[in-house]
Symmetry: C2
Subunit: 569 residues, 2 copies
């Protein structure tokens, strides 16, 4: 990142770094200012194209909004904060932009703690209409005069909670201007009836919202004119704005930077690619296997699967609830559906996992990617809770592979079950591709190393850190594989030689492996000592994985220090 | 229930107890048969009016569907199974109807395990479109010829997952007939733009669904004609059917039965009424308090609150996700929102509780009613998981009152916090109204009784059972009040005199109080013995609370037996 910062130091200061300064420009100056602010943001960021182009596409819209409305007195909420980089630069954060998504720096999303210009934070999609409704209703009750604006993408509008909010608020007569930022994409190309039939006008009007548009989202002067008229309008209404996500290359002058966040190593293979390849192989042998993804085909490498099996691949849009119950229907009809979810978004389908899949004991395979810490995306995106919230669900098997070979084996295992199975793995990958697939038995675990007094029981890829930490220590290591179910007798025998057990997981320890094992030990081996390592009961902020694990004590050094204490005692 | 069964014994047998028999009747005979089957169902049930009238209102629709379509070969899915009593009677379960919602008897909802005519179970609303989509997609892939029909109420259509499914499936060209059963009510009067503007045609068409209707849902012959035409139609399409929920008194002949499920005692007061009264008092003193309910105002006694404070009461429709984030917006704007949810439906707002409320540390009060076992509603409705899934959420305080006085005290406590608080209590109530409200401190617990060797640590109203069980035993009792946070030092001191700790909770022990306390004991008092009581890791079926608690060992007798063993050892 040092490279990027150095470039930024050479950047000219923005001619307006706050809405107040912006409003002193004439409308004629705005087109040039839009270019200026876009280049500023582009030059200062060195991360994923998806977030940058989303923000750059709303440059003119952002400038026009802050120019015409009286933010922060007027309330402006961005749905999924990664549209909001221009907004951030314009609201006093241009100087800090070099710290974007870095530990201690500004967040990649809007965040209440960061600025009065961020009245509501968002990393998950489709929340903005509910939130702006709350602000508008509060203003009515408190008799505060202000305008309320939310900006939502055409991808995010497919999320069910957006509809719930539209339907409820459509009869409220509240003063809400909803801007539909229609770039015809979420992260992948958008899907669904609304998008395909471009029937937004009928849709919004059917729910009681006024409709205006579509208008060109890159004509800043026209947007300012529209927003100035909006000052005197009231009621729930939608402005449909068309924007284009330009490829980043069009913007990339004069601040040429490279994406340096992922070291390019030819032998490196991501878990998501291991998963997708293994799934394709299984799908060739079992025609009942079908795949459902809520708008995350490329983020999950399932776009490769789609190329091979287009009719067996379902991108349902940003629609986690539907994705799970749709899979339940497929399973009830004899197919073998796999639902792919980022761990943090699985929270959106929680009731459906319980009520539609587990209760009916349907054989749906859930693959949770981005489990554990995700790094720079931060608190909204860490997969910190999945082990804990899945743990109490009856009929569910919960597995976490320690490496790519195990991931492949577990996938084969999962499709062989007649009941629901979760496999969760983190962001990242490993150096050497493995194809060593082996049969896994229910409740089986792996004794990876024998030791004397202490044994580390790990779940998931964090076991690789354990291996490195203990290679020269007389410490045992068990890779648990399953959070549940367990083979009590076998586990008891495996732990029998040890006086001290250390559990380690990359999720919340509260209700996760730690607490589960603690209770198990009290019942079965109360004489043993126990210590749990994992995520504490706080929201973890953003930073690199290395920095976060260091801060949380989830690295080799801290594990070794703990083990030294135990071995010395 | 004996009274009801006796009446049933005198009932005439239905002239058709299966779709096969039904199809032998002529269309002219159907109106009379509708009356016959409705009376049969009515006579055989002695429970809540809400469910019966929902089912009776679709008598003609149900008869016409089974008459015209080839169930169970054709797939018919009912959204929220309590519309499905007539369907059950017609599909071989009329003889068992007297066992409806009784332990070991048939379920109050559709259930896959119960009949081939129930291809998909449902107790929570808005799932049917996703599910029928799964069946239809599976049929296309498997090249099976059959028709696919789902019936959804105008209340359930407001749930976000219904929209997610409509939007996704609207471009699918699958053969799905969706019947909108529009009785203009969910449990309360329906709300939202769709209902208010009766804009269903535009709404469905905007998402790519054909639309037909509205038609009279009580003209069975006409419904049969329509369905026969539907045999040759394809694509995703909606039939809008208008039905009336007649007051039950119109049907109540000749099988007059009384609701005998709740003993009528004048001094009995339900927790939900204690809650609503206490909330009204608090709302008089703090004008920032507002209330949000997803279509459950009467089920929560908040209709009383609405009478007093109509402008501060928000029924958002069946829309749990929106309800939580709408509250987050209100809180971010300076108000003190309370979101009322049934525990089981809180699963629908899980991501929003984490991402929109807890992460932003907004002071929203969540009141979870129907926590723990609910009895006759069974597996889909037990509030079995809330303690476990809320437990890992940072910033959240989780409380459970032991009685009505504690409930009132906790409500006052919750509104005094600057962070989110959950209060959860079960169905039911108590004999004597209490108004003794006292100040509660964070992390405080109550030592209700001293003992010698053993102490029972209880959370919530199950503590009253503990009190009865141990009144003559030398056993201590602590009412924990908080699942989190805890005052470690104070709790350590309180447990210090005891060698044996028994925890008891009315939720899943996995990830709940049991596991949390087990880990705490290992770290702080490893010499103590421990036993947890609560719900096991299985889905609990339906029955009376007494029967279920007996089966699960959550009653005085079983606790006393355990304590006798411990005291004797």
């Amino acid at each position: 990142m040092a490279k990027v910062s150095a470039k930024l130091a050479a950047m000219p200061t923005l001619s307006a770094t706050s809405p107040e300064q912006l409003r002193k420009l004439s409308v004629n100056q705005l087109p040039d200012f839009c270019k200026e602010v876009a280049r500023c943001v582009l030059g200062a960021t060195a991360e994923k194209e998806g977030h940058i182009v989303s923000s750059l596409a709303v440059t003119e819209l952002t400038v026009a909004l802050h120019y015409a409305f009286n933010t922060p007195g007027d309330i402006l909420i961005w749905d999924v904060g990664h549209q909001a980089y221009i907004h951030k630069a314009l609201t006093g954060r241009s100087e800090q932009f070099q710290t974007n998504r870095q530990k201690g720096g500004i967040s990649g999303f809007t965040a209440r703690a960061e600025s009065v210009f961020d009245p509501f934070g968002a990393g998950h999609s489709s929340t903005s209409i509910s939130a702006i409704g709350g602000f508008a209703e509060a203003a009515r009750l408190q008799k505060v005069m202000r305008k309320h604006i939310a900006v939502i993408g055409d991808g995010a509008i497919t999320g069910g909670m957006a509809f719930e909010a539209l339907n409820h608020l459509g009869t409220s007569n509240l003063d809400i201007l909803l801007i539909l930022n229609d770039n015809e994409e979420s992260i992948d190309t958008n899907v669904g009836g609304l998008h395909e039939f471009q029937s937004y006008k009928d849709f919004f009007e059917s729910l009681g919202w006024g409709y205006q548009g579509p208008v060109n989202g890159h004509d800043v002067a026209n947007l300012v004119r529209i927003f100035e008229k909006e000052q005197t309008r009231e009621g729930t209404r939608v402005l449909h704005v068309k924007t284009k996500k330009h490829p980043i290359s069009l913007w990339r002058k004069p601040f040429e930077v490279e994406d340096s966040s992922q070291p390019k190593q030819t032998s490196f293979i991501a878990y998501q690619d291991i998963f997708a390849k293994a799934l394709i192989e299984l799908a060739y042998t079992d025609s009942r296997i079908v795949v459902i993804s809520p708008a995350m085909l490329s983020g999950s490498s399932l776009n490769i699967f789609k190329q091979k099996f287009p009719e067996r691949t379902f991108d349902v849009g940003i629609a986690e609830q539907h994705s799970v119950t749709f899979a339940a229907g497929l399973a009830a009809s004899g197919l073998k559906p796999l639902v792919h979810l980022y761990s943090t978004f699985a929270q959106r389908g929680y009731d459906q996992i319980i009520h539609d899949v587990a209760l009916q004991n349907l054989p749906v395979v859930f693959v949770l990617d981005r489990a554990g810490l995700v790094g720079e995306d931060g608190a909204t995106h860490h997969g910190a809770f999945d082990l804990s919230f899945l743990n109490p669900i009856p009929n569910l098997q919960i597995l976490a592979p320690m490496d790519g070979a195990e991931l492949q084996s577990m996938l084969a295992y999962a499709f062989a079950q007649n009941s629901p199975v979760v496999i969760r793995y983190p962001r990242g990958g490993e150096q050497h591709e493995s194809t060593e697939v082996h049969a896994i038995k229910t409740s089986s675990f792996r004794i990876l190393k024998d030791g004397e007094k202490v044994v580390v029981v790990s779940l998931g890829t964090i076991g690789k850190m354990v291996q490195r930490a203990i290679q020269d220590l007389p410490v045992g290591h068990i890779d648990l594989r399953f959070l549940k179910p367990w083979d009590d007798g076998a586990l008891e025998a495996a732990l029998q030689p040890y006086q001290y057990i250390v559990s380690i997981e990359d999720g919340s320890m509260r209700g996760g492996l730690r607490d589960t094992l603690a209770h198990w030990l009290i019942k079965r081996a109360p004489e043993k000592k126990f210590h749990g390592m994992g995520l504490p009961d706080v929201f973890v902020q953003h930073g690199t994985l290395k920095e976060l694990n260091q801060e949380l004590g989830l690295n080799e050094e801290r594990l070794q220090r703990l083990l030294a204490q135990v071995l010395g005692s």
